[in-house]
Amino acid sequence: MFKIIEKSSHATGINRFVIEVPEIAKKVLPGQFTILRLHEKGERIPITVADSDKVKGTITLFVQEVGKTTIEMGKLKTGDTILDVVGPLGVLSHIENFGTVLCIAGGVGVAVMYPIAKALKEKGNKIISILGARSKNFIILENEIKKNSDEFFLTTDDGSYGQKGFVSNVLNDLLAIRHSPLANIVYAIGPVPMMRVISEITKQHNLKTIVSLNPIMVDGTGMCGACRVSVGGVTKFACVDGPDFDGHLVNWTELTSRLSVFKREEKESLDHYCKYLKTVRNS
């Protein structure tokens, strides 16, 4: 049992959890993730650690409500418990002084980017950040990223905040007006379509790009192979070989289709849960 020390809602459908897991807090490094299970009948879901506090023994997770489990998790409150949390899992992100790093993050991927950007900044890199969100209410960690950035750009799809458009628009603009190379390396973390588009653009400019993948996982220790992704024509397990990979080598079509394999079941699970909520409310 792991206690939720603090739960807050940070943006529409994105919840922040500070959870007491001293073993993970002590060890976790940028880019690593945990797998958690809410209760006895729960599924195991991977969530990347956004922050940690070794002294307090806590980790911070940002969880977007996208399906049954994440919506159910959103109903938990400060003081509630989560049955299982295991980690830190996966390989840590490659952090060194590259020179200039372009950090492009979208949606809840900003939470994954935050510890990476912070660590890259601490190493002495110049950080250019581009954050993107659907709308103003979906932005998280704006100030935290800004604090670690030398240059900062923000876009919303609907133009309700920052520049109207996508992170890729800003990237294209920068590539057009600045001297080449724009950066020594690019980190792109967010929804799969976003990472794919960014990787396609940077590939044309020969800009090395690291993406953080979050395919379907079960155990997270390299045992089941559910998370297999093709990278440069070779099958990798995202849980133990990743989650960071070279964006130019990822087979995005395969990844996209593998993420949708349980679409029907995911809907069924959510419907089942909504029905359950209704009966609870009525009784």
């Binding site: 073993e23 993970i24 060890k27 299970r37 009948k41 729960g42 599924e43 195991r44 049954k68 489990t69 049955l83 299982d84 949390v85 295991v86 980690g87 830190p88 899992l89 079960v218 155990d219 220790t221 390299g222 045992m223 089941c224 192979g225 559910a226 297999r228 992704v229 093709s230 099958t235 133990v240 079509t253 395969e254 289709s257 593998r258 949708s260 394999v261 349980f262 029907r264 079941e265 995911e266 069924e268 699970s269 089942h272 849960y273």
Partner: protein
């Protein structure tokens, strides 16, 4: 004296059982068990014991069953075997102890496994205050001064056995398990209808009652490194992390949707209880025509789970013939009885998918058997221009598992073999690093539950020796 025939195991009817996940084999009645036990002629030099990796006094416990002294029978069993209800169900007795039974020479051997299961189940049915447990507790307090801390990585059959035997000597043992449940392959791999998870939990409770601490959600190598465990005061570490790495064929189309590794397929069904979806959150997506690639016990399990999940047709696709199939005969018979079909001398070369990346078929080659290979089995050789296709909408890859490299990779200087297996002294489980022992599938590659238990038992003795030598 009239000759008693080998007692048949009562089973759930095949037509009924493919609709549920309840036990297939139902267990002997008391009358059957006593009759079967009376078949044992109590050899002066029993060969059967030599076939048992954990050295159970087989004639001893069987004699007690014949005398209807079941409490004494289970006590004798548990003296050597910490998991008798599990072994009684899943051990390949026909190639271990029963093959050595004197009766097997002229007829059928004593049904040792079924009797083991009977004695273990009898005890489970009694009150939870087991006699065996309380006597072990006494032993533990007697050796209190010995309470040296030992760590065990992995809570599968090897780790559980090593931990239990060390606790019986008096050590303070902690098992670290990365999953949320204890039991390793017993929980995630073997289906409910062959090994009820309730039975596994009861046997694990027995091991806890010996004083073994179990910490789940700790991945040794990541959450804690082996060095950190030594720093925390553990004097020796047993690594029993199993053969968790699923093998794939490396052929085109293998990452199409609805192509599962057997590990994923069985973990979803067994550990995560996907057969109770949506009551349980974890789904499993299965079509109507399932091909299971491989013909070992894991393949049989995957095939039989597929039927129970609602597949209309389940095919075992294997490149050799039925004779070479590595699964237990009993499991092959059960699978066939349930309607699993065998597609022999067939090797997939490519998977075919639709526009949504779902698997829709596979292209195969016909094979014939050539000369025996290193395994002693005749090597399958492809027949030229024999390509053919057939439709499937779900595929389970059950072609084997390799040792899980995650933990070995984190231990500097640890010698590993070319398959990622930790190199050990077979008799002791000692590795290339003092204080680190290993056993089970992580050392041997995928083998049986009982072999892993035997390795755990041998390592427990070696660890005891090692600790005693440290103190001198």
């Amino acid at each position: 004296m009239e000759k008693i025939p080998r007692q048949k195991m009562p089973v759930q009817d095949a037509k009924e059982r493919i609709k549920n996940f309840s036990s297939v084999a139902l267990g002997y009645s008391e009358e059957q068990a006593v009759l079967e036990a009376r078949r044992c002629i109590q050899c002066k030099k029993p060969a059967c014991i030599g076939g048992c990796p954990v050295e159970v006094d087989i004639p001893g416990f069987i004699k007690k069953i014949a005398e209807k002294n079941f409490a004494e029978a289970i006590k004798i069993l548990k003296n050597k075997n910490n998991l008798p209800a599990i072994c009684g169900r899943v051990c390949p007795q026909e190639t271990q102890c029963e093959i050595k039974c004197v009766l097997a020479k002229k007829g059928e051997p004593v049904a040792i496994g079924r009797l083991e299961r009977f004695a273990a189940d009898w005890e489970i049915e009694q009150s939870s205050e087991f006699r065996v447990q309380s006597s072990e507790k006494k032993l533990r307090t007697m050796n209190y001064e010995l309470r040296t801390k030992i760590a065990v990585a992995g809570s599968g059959p090897a780790g559980l056995t090593c931990a239990a035997d060390l606790a019986k000597i008096g050590y303070d043992v902690t098992i670290f398990e990365s999953l949320h449940e204890t039991g390793g392959v017993l929980m995630y791999g073997i289906p409910e209808f062959r090994l009820p998870k309730k039975t596994v939990k009861i046997e694990i409770d027995y091991i806890k009652s010996l004083g073994v601490n179990i910490k789940t959600n700790i991945l040794v190598g990541k959450t804690k490194t082996v060095q950190e465990l030594f720093d925390e005061g553990f004097k020796a570490i047993f690594v029993g992390t199993g053969a968790g790495l699923p093998q794939f064929l490396g052929i085109p189309g293998e990452n199409l949707n609805r192509i599962y590794s057997a590990n994923e397929f069985l973990t979803r069904a067994n550990l995560m209880k996907a057969y109770k979806f949506p009551e349980y959150d974890t789904p499993i997506d299965i079509g109507k025509r399932v091909a299971v690639i491989g013909a070992g016990n894991v393949a049989m399990d995957a095939a039989r789970v597929s039927l129970r999940l609602g597949a209309d047709e389940v095919l075992i696709v294997y490149r050799r013939t039925e004779k070479e199939m590595p699964a237990r005969l009993e499991e092959i018979e059960n699978a066939k009885e349930e309607g699993v079909k065998l597609h022999l001398l067939t090797a997939p070369i490519r998977f075919i998918g639709d526009e949504n990346n779902n698997v829709t078929g596979m292209e195969c080659l016909k094979m014939e058997l050539g000369e025996p290979d290193s395994s002693g089995r005749r090597r399958p050789v492809p027949i030229k221009n024999s390509e053919f296709k057939f439709d499937v909408d779900t595929v389970v890859m059950a072609i084997g598992q390799s040792p899980n490299p995650l933990l070995p990779k984190t231990i500097q200087g640890l010698q590993v073999g070319k398959h990622g297996n930790i190199i050990t002294d077979e008799k002791t489980g000692a590795t290339s690093i003092a204080g680190i022992f290993a056993g089970g599938d992580i050392a041997t590659g995928a083998s049986t539950i009982i072999e892993a238990m035997g390795a755990g038992k041998r390592a427990s003795r070696a660890i005891d020796e090692y600790i005693k030598n440290l103190k001198i």
